[in-house]
Assembly symmetry: C2
Homo-oligomer: 524 residues x 2
Amino acid sequence: MGTVRNILFIMCDQLRYDYLGCTGHPGIRTPHIDALAKRGVNFSHTFVQAPVCGSSRMSFYTGRYVFSHGATYNGVPLNIGEQTLGDHLRRAGITTGLIGKTHMAPDRDNMGRLGISPTSNEGVLASQCGFEPWERDDGLHPDELTDPNLAYNRFLREQGYEGDNPWHTAANSGRDADGTLQSGWFLRNAHLAAEVKAEHSETAYMTNRAMEKVSDLGDQPWCLHLSYIKPHWPYMAPAPYHAMYGKQDILPANRTDAEKAAPHPVVQAFMAHEESRNFSDEAKRRHVIPAYMGLISEIDDNIGRLMAFLDQQGRLDDTLIVFTSDHGDYLGDHWLGEKELFHEESVRIPLIVVDPSAAADATRGTTDPRLVEAIDLVPTFTDYANLPDQPHLLEGRSLRPLIQGEDVPIWRSAVFSEVDYAWRGARLSLGLQPDQTRAYMVRSDQWKYISFDGFMPQLFDLQADPHEQQDLGVDPAYGTIREAFEAELSRWIRARKTRITVSHEQIEQKTDNARDRGIYFGVW
Amino acid sequence: MGTVRNILFIMCDQLRYDYLGCTGHPGIRTPHIDALAKRGVNFSHTFVQAPVCGSSRMSFYTGRYVFSHGATYNGVPLNIGEQTLGDHLRRAGITTGLIGKTHMAPDRDNMGRLGISPTSNEGVLASQCGFEPWERDDGLHPDELTDPNLAYNRFLREQGYEGDNPWHTAANSGRDADGTLQSGWFLRNAHLAAEVKAEHSETAYMTNRAMEKVSDLGDQPWCLHLSYIKPHWPYMAPAPYHAMYGKQDILPANRTDAEKAAPHPVVQAFMAHEESRNFSDEAKRRHVIPAYMGLISEIDDNIGRLMAFLDQQGRLDDTLIVFTSDHGDYLGDHWLGEKELFHEESVRIPLIVVDPSAAADATRGTTDPRLVEAIDLVPTFTDYANLPDQPHLLEGRSLRPLIQGEDVPIWRSAVFSEVDYAWRGARLSLGLQPDQTRAYMVRSDQWKYISFDGFMPQLFDLQADPHEQQDLGVDPAYGTIREAFEAELSRWIRARKTRITVSHEQIEQKTDNARDRGIYFGVW
């Protein structure tokens, strides 16, 4: 790996592209993340393979598109036959583990069929998306489902927070003016300070765990996936972050009356979801966004703590640092809440990569506008680890040549993202079956084309309409553009990589040489 | 399963559709297979998912299209995450095993990653395509590669055939006029009688093994996959089959000078293969085809023996019998040898199904011309076994309603087949990379459309030109037809089933009800 020996792969959850200082938010304070951007490359046009946690992450971790790996939504088990980042990096002797969230569901049916014990080393890795689960915590612990042994809850109790589920009652609840504890599950309570002290919050706790682990790993090369749950809901920040931002810091919603009046049928169905209706209420939106921003600044402070620690440990010199997110958050833009559709607010993410090696000096502090996909990270990491290319399996491209300022004469001309909304109310309101809910985005520098199974497409001209307020999906003037993008989409789907158990080298070795193995066919 | 308790799933290798009496060959003698057709349904328009052994079989056994399961050619490991027929039927208490060939390559890389011991029960099944390997024998044993412990070789030695590899020197070699042993690997020796007696041939041996196994299984419900290597090459039959047919029995080749003069580029590259050049020589073709026909009549006699045995055991009354093949054989038609392209000679197979239950009486002895795919067998078998539908996973349709004469108002309008010729000389002569070699067939009742990556398509009007001698792939008069089929192909590829770890029922159960699990998002 040259001077890069370790990989620190930091992921936030639901952090949209434009809510950092270094990505253009005028009001948010993220000095430590901004400092990362000054030391590395800020990839300004980075897109997730699916704008929803589980499927996006499975693409981050497998290096494959969503309908290639098949885990198309939260809770869909990742097929046992899919390899992940840890499987690759361990071949290079790199200890690869997790602190935080993956949203991975194990493929228990196939594990049972194959006799893989969930407690064997291999079974644990297969259940944990290939990461050693140094601390797995998906960050959502409703009282109904909480593991009584959750490590973070044990930690909170050790700090004096009582109850069966202090994740809820301390870290994600706050006291109102009457002193009554109110749940952070409800948007109306987003202005309250979490009962937990900032130093005991999930973000601080996971940061501490990461620092402990880095100390423990010593000189062993490692890849640490530090995967924060925040700024994902429940939207509730501890003091002082709960009050760090006010209404004056909130940007106007990106939405027009015209969008609401004549939406695409699928978008309309999403607009009818509860989260969309609530975030469409400007008062509610303004009530929640300060908490979202506070959670981001809290992460930023913890990134600062973490970087100071790495500096003190000497790890800044030999560690590739990646900072990114699994998808965005509409926050009321386009009359929508949450994510799952393809507007930039949902599908575009921050991506900052700091390569400490001298080879990357030329790009330090630059912004790279080339189109990047989440699936580029696995090939980037295996490239830094000097592992062979795997073009039969990995569907992304290594960013290392971009980071190290090499001449890259041809780069991709479009990025792709996929959605499967079978689990959402929109499916029911549209009267669809579970296999009629796929949608695809093809985005070039200028255009965003969205193709829904069974519905008209959407089209946006990002040059003329960067805020995606004017859907050209049925405008007769753009028929040629739409046809070109539909053809590109078909071409791309057709080239999906499914022949994943044999490498190109193995094919070359066995091409047209059956005779060498004693197999004569058609020989007179 | 009603009165159907067992499944006898007989497959031949390389038996093309039209080389049986009951499928229209005027000269071949196959009375026992014809008798099956009289007792069951003769599906006259059945197509393989790939016209090559390994990938076709992986579709037969998984119930999934070739680029869905990903084992796109001989020797490509079937991904460990793919379930097979045995995995399904065992859930219904049906012992499912193999005698003969599967051409399955185990996914050793993933087995190693997952800690699956190849000798554990689960590891054996995962290595044997989900079949209990009662006797695995892929039927091709060049001296260079032969397992010294091959059971059929042990059997031959017990019968007095000597040598290291009597599979070659006895079962697939014959003596010429000088008494010199000549190898069946070479087409020029196809007229010789195999050194082996018919009663010791591979076909007879496997039939014996099947009868022994059926006896052993007693009252245990079973699915036995009896998978003959013949009439696959080496083209060499034991006496009397080697001399059963002569030049007078050979049909004229289906080929025209025009086809040879202006072929499609990919077809042209295949025409240049050695097997195509040899089968294009009419003298050589006439030299080989009698052996091919003899091997078929030998199978037929063994089917007769097997049916008499089942009758005597009382098994004809409770056993669903399927007779089919994994693909065809060009035998010089269209100036081609072997298979791997999409003409009917290669891609169309016989399929006869005998359902002994009274429910099937109405269709007994009928020919059903509806379009059937190889992937229909897994859902057919699971349907007979009263297992639930698995539309998230299986890409075929149960034939049971057709077999039992139920009203099926809508059936498929096209069948699909796929090829990956990365391993063939054609790739090299065309200058292609290993990921530029996919081709697809869409065949309706009237049309056959073939789409090659990177090349013009082919189109045949099967009504006007049933012998596929006139390629309309670039004829301007058929542009609309080609566009319609290309669109149908894109639609089909887009609907490929890759979300295979979660059922539709599981999706329905979790649709739009996060609140029930205590997860509140976007709730005020």
